[in-house]
């Protein structure tokens, strides 16, 4: 875009979501199609196409929001574009059939803010989502970006900044919920070795599978993190910052790199920022793919170019971190909250949430749920509100079974606790934890023993191997769980599993090992009957544990409904299905490897699993 075009006003802005989810749904092709059509109709002087970061409602991508008016279009295809442009932009008639209609309802909802998925959300960390082009610093500035930094640099003392953050009640969003103000105070108080520098780190390793809020913030609003770090730098007296981003997030790395360059070009990073004499700069560091590197001491080791292994604390990084110097490390979402707190005041922030947990939390709502995506909600909201009001409930009329929070360190919360108001303490009491905010919803077709086994295989895989309880303990637990899911478990296995879990919890070196038993302990606490069924009846009620499944074909249904369509036989991985077109099919159990392909492909529900 030329300089002149940048200055120009447009009567309509088309906000195309270019978060990772929508990009994989071809949103860039939608963007190109929009631009082409707009040009064709001679509207290129009036209508601007803007690519934004993740809108949050990933399930319905690719997404487009038309402003002004906040008209929400979803599940677009390139084919829809000419009609949409002509109707809405040329003739002023929004296109109903491309709008969102809630499941089970008939009337589409045109305006984004009227849609339940968005209505209950309170946006602080995600305040700019869908509203700015993350690759244009001016658009961030227009949304009152860098106002808080200006205030912190010109009107506030470090003590005052720390006091604001402390009073706001902000706690770390990376998992443990450590009070951010307190951490900053520790870094400020710490004396650096040999008069060296103090450092800040933004932890964007986001290792929890099922969580993608940090990715979304880095992609949609990188300047909010930069501004947060600038404020933090003034507070603790740091001169150099690092943003550590997982290697798996190329788009986040790209957008953050651009944002850093633009901030530097404006002199918002570097020396003598805003002419105040304050110096601070930020470097980007790519992770190299190890879950344990999300742990702060391991992360620091890998920034230094060493093996990403954790070490015992204390000393905490606040006292001795990067290259032995005092280092403040916070999560991406934590940083993104900081500018709003400074701009709007600690009291405002503290008025949101529960007595122990202030503000909002971003959750990624995934798994067996209708409206998958990213949601930001006030602390204290109930699981039921998130899952049913925002998430739209469970697809396919299935029954809710549990929600998993806290990733591999967390646990599964059953339906009896759906009315739990969520904050750091309530989730811990339920045996789980806040973690980074992944919320994986599970329904009747999810096997809880398999889920426990899944997480153990994860932690076993990711254990750095430095301490014995974690390395050997998770392996032994995994062996038992695998046995149970294969129908080879015994009653003794249950007590053994419990004992091992408690032992590892007590003796592991870092958070990874200490929390690894949580998924096992919570599933045993709430779903013991499922373990027992696997052990006693050699059955998996959810039909997930492969070895325990028996696939059969309802021959009558196959012949009458499907006319022996033969699809299963052609897809069978092991030639275990007998029959031909127009004949009833049959499975030879001795050959069946239980891959489940026949069950997946049958369009007539003729394949049964027991």
């Amino acid at each position: 875009m030329t300089e002149a075009a940048k200055e120009k006003a447009f009567r309509v802005h088309l906000m195309v979501c270019a978060g990772t989810g929508c990009v994989s749904n071809h949103s860039f092709e939608i963007k190109e199609a929009l631009e082409k059509e707009i040009k064709k109709l001679g509207l290129d002087n009036e209508v601007l196409v803007v690519t934004t970061g993740c809108n949050g409602f990933c399930e319905r991508g690719p997404l487009l929001v038309v402003q002004p008016g906040n008209i929400f279009y979803q599940q677009l295809t390139v084919k829809d574009v000419p009609h949409l442009v002509e109707e809405h932009l040329l003739k002023g008639r929004p296109v109903k059939k491309l709008m969102y209609t809630p499941p089970k309802e008939k009337t589409p909802i045109p305006v984004l803010s009227d849609i339940d998925f968005f209505r209950k959300q309170v946006l602080i960390a995600l305040r700019n989502r869908g509203l700015i082009d993350p690759e244009k610093i001016d658009e961030y500035i227009a949304r009152d970006g860098y106002v808080a930094m200006g205030k912190a640099l010109t009107q506030m003392t470090p003590e005052k900044i720390i006091a604001e953050i402390t009073i706001s009640g902000l706690r770390g969003r990376g998992g443990a919920g450590f009070p951010t103000g307190l951490k900053w105070q520790m870094v400020r108080n710490a004396v650096s070795a040999n008069g060296g520098a103090k450092y800040l780190i933004c932890n964007g390793d986001e290792g929890d599978p099922g969580a993608f809020m940090d990715r979304s913030i880095l992609e949609a609003d990188p300047h909010s993190v930069i501004e947060g770090m600038l404020i933090g730098a003034k507070a603790v007296g740091a001169t150099q910052g690092f943003v550590y981003v997982r290697n798996e997030y190329p788009l986040a790395i790209k957008r953050m790199t651009i944002a850093l360059e633009q901030a530097r070009a404006y002199g918002l990073l570097g020396q003598d920022i805003l002419g105040t004499g304050f110096d601070f700069d930020i470097k980007i560091v790519r992770g190299a793919g190890a879950f344990v590197c999300g742990e702060e001491t391991a992360l620091i080791a890998s920034v230094e170019g060493r093996l990403g292994e954790p070490r015992t604390r204390p000393p905490y990084p606040a006292q001795s971190g990067l290259w032995g110097q005092p280092t403040g490390i916070n999560n991406v979402e934590t940083w993104a909250n900081v500018p709003s707190i400074i701009a709007r005041g600690a009291k405002w922030y503290a008025s949101i949430g529960t007595p122990t947990s202030k503000g909002t939390k971003v959750f990624s709502l995934v798994g067996k749920i209708n409206n998958t995506g990213l949601v930001e909600v006030p602390m204290g909201i109930t699981l039921r509100e998130i899952i049913y009001d925002i998430g739209g409930g469970i697809p396919g009329g299935k029954a809710f079974k549990a929600v998993q929070t806290g990733g591999p360190s967390g646990g599964c919360i059953p339906k009896e606790q759906l009315d739990l108001p969520i904050d750091y303490e309530s989730l811990t009491q339920a045996g789980s934890m806040m973690g980074s905010g992944g919320m994986v919803v599970m329904d009747e077709d999810t096997c809880m023993v398999d889920v426990a086994r899944y997480f153990l295989s994860f932690t076993q895989d990711e254990s750095c191997g430095k301490c014995t309880p974690c390395r050997e303990g998770t392996k032994a637990m995994l062996d038992i769980l695998t046995r149970i899911t294969e129908g080879k478990g015994t009653e003794e296995d249950l007590s053994l599993l419990q004992d091992m879990a408690l032992a590892v919890k007590d003796s592991a070196l870092c958070g990874l090992g200490k929390t690894a038993p949580n998924p096992v302990l919570t599933t045993m606490r709430y779903f013991l009957n499922e373990y027992e069924t696997h052990i006693r009846d050699k059955k998996c009620p959810a039909h997930v544990c492969r070895q325990l499944n028996v696939y059969t074909i309802d021959e009558e249904r196959c012949l009458n409904k499907g006319k022996g369509c033969d699809l299963c036989r052609r897809n069978c991985a092991s030639d275990a299905i007998q029959g031909a077109k127009n004949e009833a099919h049959r499975i030879d159990q001795s050959k069946c490897i239980k891959c489940g392909v026949c069950f997946d492909v049958c369009n007539f529900g003729a394949v049964k699993v027991d």
Binding site: K8, R11, H13, R93, D138, G145, Y266, G267, L274
Partner: protein
């Protein structure tokens, strides 16, 4: 690029805000629809639209929707536009010029007073939104 001062930062903010306030969502204060059928365009509807866009930009308004519509069926009185202030009946203006639309914008869209001398009819049609 020289380093910014607080004042320069504020200037960038004001300037960009003017261009992006229309993204802020919320209720419309008013909707202005310029009739852009072939006849309307031939009669100068584009310049009416451009004049309106300029108003939006200069005043940094985020709650006025500018749209087009097809031919309004009264080709002899083009360019035409319909102004619909929230909660009031739409008013159709005819034989527009850039000067007239500026006046209408100021008096009707922002001030809520219909400019009767340019108006054709009141409440003759309702738009979708």
């Amino acid at each position: 690029m020289p380093k910014l001062t607080l004042e320069e930062l504020a200037k960038i903010r004001e300037k960009t805000k003017r261009l992006t306030t229309i993204r802020e969502g919320g209720e419309y204060r008013a909707k202005v629809c310029v009739h852009m059928g072939t006849c309307g365009i031939a009669a100068g509807a584009r310049s009416i639209m451009n004049a309106l866009m300029k108003e939006l930009e200069e005043r940094a308004l985020g709650d006025v929707l500018l749209t087009n519509s097809g031919c309004a069926g009264l080709c002899s009185r083009e360019p035409m536009a319909t102004v619909e202030v929230a909660g009031q009946a739409p008013v159709k203006y005819v034989d527009l010029t850039e000067k007239k639309i500026k006046e209408i914008f100021e008096k009707h869209v922002l001030g809520g007073r219909i400019v009767t001398e340019y108006a054709l009819g009141i409440g003759s049609e309702k738009t979708d939104f």
